[in-house]
């Protein structure tokens, strides 16, 4: 009606828009990135170090939210499905498969920077790193694979070589070890972490986990045989050793109370080679037994689709997971480097000659089972019931098989199963 009013209105609108733009710009300048990571005294400490450098270099302030594993998993999941979107970059692994659809594909970034070049071959592929709809969503930064660590002296005394084809071979060796070494149990394992028993199953069972028609399913006879093998092996644990924490299991090996420990090597190798370690120079690592695969632990970084500044998120990923800091992260925090070059470092190679060959061979064959958290818990809890004699291997595996039918396979896991040869053909 009145031109003046109209103009005022337009001016006001302009002012509002420009103010908003300035606010947005300034918020982008004082960039802040929230990063969730495991509270382990390694990943989180390394993140704090890298974050300090990162701020100096880019001005971006990285807030680190560190949680123990189970809490981290739940917080990440809750954050995504509740739309809270608190974390711009998340740490996780395949157990986040339920929420993969909330993560942004990173293929363009990987291609742009030719990021995969120099990474351990095959690490950035389905069944190892995480994919959804054929697109890469997880960038690996810490690799580990289940290992069999043994006491050289005890093996020598028993006259056995640490070259086992199966867990039955290990059980057979246990008899000799116990006979030759007084007051020594055969092996220790973090039996108190219920999911860890999966490490034995995944390596002892060499068949598929997903049926042709895309349902969770085991080859029942093979799985039963694998479960029986584990149950037989369990008799060789130390007395009252069925609920050990990682620390307890490792301490038993360090104190020379057991001849072997079956665990994630990155948790223990540094401490075994410490100057005050009684087993320093007396231990080695063997090829992991079984025709299946050693369980892979691959920490990856994920960017939720809700993250606003994906460029900043990618910059942080490159800083934290990239090759520049890989050696420091390995030496100081024992974070398994995902970069081949680290393992060619002559100094480290010489120092770690007693276990690196087996470790690197493990990295090459290790995989993750294509299981959702629910499916995996059902399997590992049932295995616990089997080894504790609450249910027979046959009945337990049959129960898993029938209950798995009701658990849907997340789309991403179906892809992973197909990609890693763990789906029935």
């Amino acid at each position: 009606m009145y031109p003046t009013t109209k103009r005022t209105k337009a001016a006001t609108t302009m002012a509002v828009i420009s103010t908003a733009a300035i606010l947005l710009a300034s918020s982008a300048m004082a960039a802040e990135l929230n990063f969730s990571v495991m509270e382990s005294g390694t990943y989180d400490k390394a993140a704090a170090e890298v974050a300090a450098d990162f701020k100096a270099a880019t001005g971006t302030d990285v807030q680190i939210s560190a949680f123990p594993w189970a809490v981290l998993r739940q917080n990440n999941t809750t954050d995504l499905i509740s739309g809270t979107n608190q974390y711009d970059v998340m740490s996780g692994g395949y157990y986040l498969s339920d929420v993969y659809s909330y993560f942004a594909p990173l293929d363009d970034y990987i291609a742009k920077d030719n990021y995969a070049q120099g990474m351990i071959p095959g690490l950035l592929s389905p069944g190892r790193s995480e994919f959804v709809g054929g697109k890469s969503i997880g960038i690996p930064y810490g690799v580990d694979a289940y290992g069999l660590i043994f006491n050289k002296d005890m093996f020598e005394k028993a006259g056995i070589s640490p070259d086992f084809a199966s867990w039955s071979d290990v059980a057979a060796a246990c008899d000799k070890i116990i006979a030759a070494n007084a007051d020594v149990a055969c092996f220790s394992h973090p039996t108190g972490s219920p999911e860890q028993i999966g490490g034995f199953f995944f390596s002892g069972y060499a068949r598929t986990y997903v049926s042709k028609d895309g349902k969770y399913s085991l080859d029942v006879p093979a799985a039963t045989a694998a479960a029986e093998e584990i149950a037989a092996l369990w008799k060789y644990l130390p007395a009252k050793g069925t609920a050990l924490t990682f620390d307890e299991a490792h301490q038993l090996f360090k104190d020379q109370k057991v001849a072997m420990t079956i665990t994630y090597p990155s948790f223990i190798t540094n401490s075994l080679d410490a100057d005050d370690s009684p087993v320093k120079g007396h231990w080695g690592m063997a090829k992991f037994p079984g025709k299946g695969f050693p369980w892979l632990s691959l920490w990856q970084l994920f960017v939720p689709t809700a993250t606003e500044d994906k460029d900043a998120a990618w910059a942080w990923i490159k800083a934290y997971a990239g090759p520049e800091n890989a050696k420091r992260n390995l030496v100081e925090h024992n974070i398994g480097s995902v970069w081949s070059a680290t393992y060619d470092d002559p100094e480290l190679k010489a120092k770690n000659a007693h276990f690196w060959p087996a470790l690197i061979a493990g990295f090459a064959s290790a995989k993750n089972p294509p299981l959702s958290g629910e499916a995996q818990d059902l399997l590992t809890n049932t295995l616990q019931d089997i080894v504790n004699g609450r249910v027979s291997a046959a009945d337990g595996i049959a129960a898993v098989e029938s209950q798995w039918a009701a658990i849907p396979v997340p789309a991403a896991m179906l892809e992973a199963a197909a990609g890693s040869g763990l789906q029935e053909k």
Partner: protein, 281 residues
């Protein structure tokens, strides 16, 4: 003579039984306290005695690291407990007074009373998820308010039930004479009921404070991070790698000591609060 001997034998048997009960009840706390002062490397050593080889404050230093978050959790717990207690007792006192005095149709008072009783007794896990979703709707996730509302809603029924039992004994004559003087319910409540009910309110407050300080499920559901409370923090010491026994013991001591002291000082109110529901209900 024989009777005297019998009496002595009996009273020493009684004393022995009481001592045994005390030992069973208190020994775990002693273990906890010593473990909070035990050097980290001794936790996994077989043959370590009850008393550590040397005492160390490293775990306390660690959890109270100035860069750490323990202070924040303590403050969160204090804020949440204080606010929940005040609100629960206030709301509960108002509601129970109204229920005791109102002549509601259709036995509505009884229905509301039973409703409150039921809330005490269903699995809280039933509401944890819907409550989480509700808080998401209101964008209250991970705030003090989310936990406070949860705790108030859990404890108000408790307070109402408890105070109703007290109101049964409450002398109506006092109020009646005030009514004749023209006092409405607000003034009667503030000037007569509150002062006379002070011991009962204190009992309700003490009990609410304990429940809120110790509550785990709802707090862990809606406040995983910024508004995290002490009980939720403790569960975090069980990591995938092991259990940080030292820090966990130190943190548990931090959470137990205030409650234990509080219990000692408020014993009368606490006992009254705990028993009134059963004894009078």
């Amino acid at each position: 003579m024989s009777r005297g001997l019998g009496y002595m034998a009996e009273s020493s048997a009684k004393a022995a039984l009481i001592a045994l009960a005390l030992l069973v009840a208190l020994a775990p706390f002693v273990v906890l306290f010593f473990n909070s002062l035990r050097p980290a490397d001794e936790f996994l050593a077989q043959g370590a005695g009850l008393i550590p080889s040397r005492l160390t404050f490293e775990h306390y230093a660690e959890i109270f690291d100035p860069n750490g978050d323990t202070f924040r959790y303590v403050i969160n717990s204090l804020i949440i407990t204080t606010a929940s207690t005040i609100l629960a007792v206030l709301f509960g006192a108002l509601a129970s007074y109204a229920l005791a005095r109102l002549q509601l149709p259709f036995k509505l008072s009884i229905i509301i009373g039973i409703l409150f009783l039921v809330i005490r007794f269903y699995p809280k896990i039933t509401v944890a998820l819907p409550y989480f979703l509700l808080m998401r709707e209101f964008h209250l996730l991970d705030t003090h308010l989310a936990v406070i509302i949860a705790h108030v809603s859990m404890t108000v029924p408790f307070v109402v039930w408890m105070l109703l039992a007290f109101f049964e004994d409450f002398p109506r004559e006092l109020e009646q004479s005030a009514m004749i003087d023209g006092c409405g319910p607000i003034r009667r409540f503030v000037l007569i009921v509150i002062p006379l009910m002070a011991p009962a309110l204190a009992a309700a407050a003490v009990l609410t404070a304990f429940l809120s300080w110790n509550e785990f499920l709802m707090a862990s559901t809606v406040a995983p991070n910024a508004a995290k409370t002490l009980p939720v923090r403790i569960s975090g010491f069980i990591t995938d790698k092991g259990i940080l026994w030292g820090s966990m013991s130190a943190m548990s001591t931090v959470i137990v000591v205030p409650v234990a002291l509080f219990a000692l000082f408020t014993q009368r109110y606490l006992a009254r609060g705990l028993t009134v529901g059963a004894v009078k209900g």
